[in-house]
């Protein structure tokens, strides 16, 4: 099973490397989003300092949804049939797709995080915690996005429908990530937000694995 996950995970990353959707399209798009916000709210440096982390999380959630719904993430029907004939468990496919999306999202988060630091100059007291908060958040968004992608798979409206499926149920992820960084900024405890992120990730992982097989039946 681990071998299947690893093989599919690498295949997803190879697909992304060939397509270049995340690094060549979504990362520049997210950067532009961070760049235009000050043009909408005004060039008020203390205000931008305050809203910078919030902008980071909003861009991560909204553009993260695009990362999880990228064209290279959706297996074609023939590829899916082939994997089914080879005896690859649908749960394995979910895990591999979610892992690949989580890794790509983490890369996306690192890039837009750096852009946020440059453009907004937010104050973070203990940045070491970000090494736990960001991957946990990315894993959560990746799993919600992968489940939504599977549920809406094969539909012509997939790209417009999936964000509506993902964003409302990703509210705890957004709140936990945003409140944890706010806690770091204010020097407050953030353990309950880390706990919430961990619980959300576990629930989503279980939901994704347990519902993978019913989704496959036809």
């Amino acid at each position: 099973m681990i071998r299947h996950v690893t093989t599919l995970f690498v295949a997803h990353l190879r697909d992304e490397r060939r397509a270049g959707e995340v690094m060549l399209v979504i990362v520049p798009f997210g950067t532009v989003a961070l760049l235009v916000v000050p043009m909408a709210v005004g060039i008020d440096t203390p205000l931008l300092d305050r809203i910078g982390p919030g902008m980071f999380w909003v861009v991560l959630l909204l553009f993260g949804t695009i990362v999880t719904q990228r064209q290279s993430a959706s297996l074609g029907e023939s590829r899916r049939d082939m994997l089914t004939l080879l005896g690859v468990d649908p749960a394995v496919r979910f895990v591999a797709a979610a892992l690949a999306a989580a890794l790509l999202l983490t890369v996306f988060a690192v890039v837009i995080g750096a852009v946020t630091f440059v453009l907004y100059d937010p104050e973070v007291v203990d940045p070491g915690w970000l090494a736990a908060i960001v991957p946990l958040t990315c894993a959560g968004i990746a799993m919600v996005g992968t489940i939504a992608g599977n549920v809406a798979g094969g539909l012509g409206t997939r790209s417009s429908l999936a964000p509506l499926l993902v964003v409302p149920i990703a509210v705890p992820i957004l709140l936990a990530g945003a409140q944890a960084t706010e806690g770091l900024r204010m020097g407050l405890g953030i353990l309950r937000w880390i706990l919430l992120l961990s619980v959300v990730d576990i629930v989503l992982a279980l939901a994704g694995v347990l519902t993978a097989r019913p989704l496959e039946e036809s």
Partner: protein, 236 residues
Amino acid sequence: MIRPLEIAAGLMLATALVLGLVVPPDAVQGDLQRIMYVHVPSAWLAYLSFAATLVAGVAYLKTRRMRWDHIAGASAEVGVLFTGLALVTGSIWGKPVWGVWWTWDARLVLTAVMFFVYLGYLALRRSFDDPETRARRAAVYGIVAVAQIPLVHFSVVWWRGLHQPPTLLRPGDPQIDGPLLAALLAAVFAFTVVYAALVSRRAEIARLEDLLAAPSADETVAGSGVSAPPIVRDTR
């Protein structure tokens, strides 16, 4: 044809509305509080209908009977209606009491999130032509969405809170006067019967829609361009 459940729902709703208008006004909020006779039952039905969608979704995955899918879809549709009603009536009440149409309170945010989760659920259902694919995928999304609702609840409660604590379900004695409590309970009961009547009718319509969409046995599937081959009798 009007069913007995629908007649009962209409009568109970009328009684509840009359009760809500004739009971004395609230000591502090005056007549403004009467909106609670619509707001509280709507909010209760929002939770009930989404719980019913979850149960029906699980039942569909277990039994694969389309009836459960029809109930899940009907319950979500009615739930969206009542969630919207709870949001609108809460907003109308909030403006004179809190001074704003909307505030970033935990329960308000949770209700709005539920509203959008189930708008997504309904959009997903509308996207499929094949009833079985629709039923299976909607059931899975419904389960994942409902599993997230308690987490959304905790996240927004930890975030901030302004909404008043429970009045009716407070441990000990309810902080509400007798006649007002009677009117509120009558409204909750009447709305619940209305919910049952609406879900029952909508599920029946969904069943008939599926029946209408299914190809019948004698239907021409290849169009008029293809004719049946001639029957050649073996005369040997």
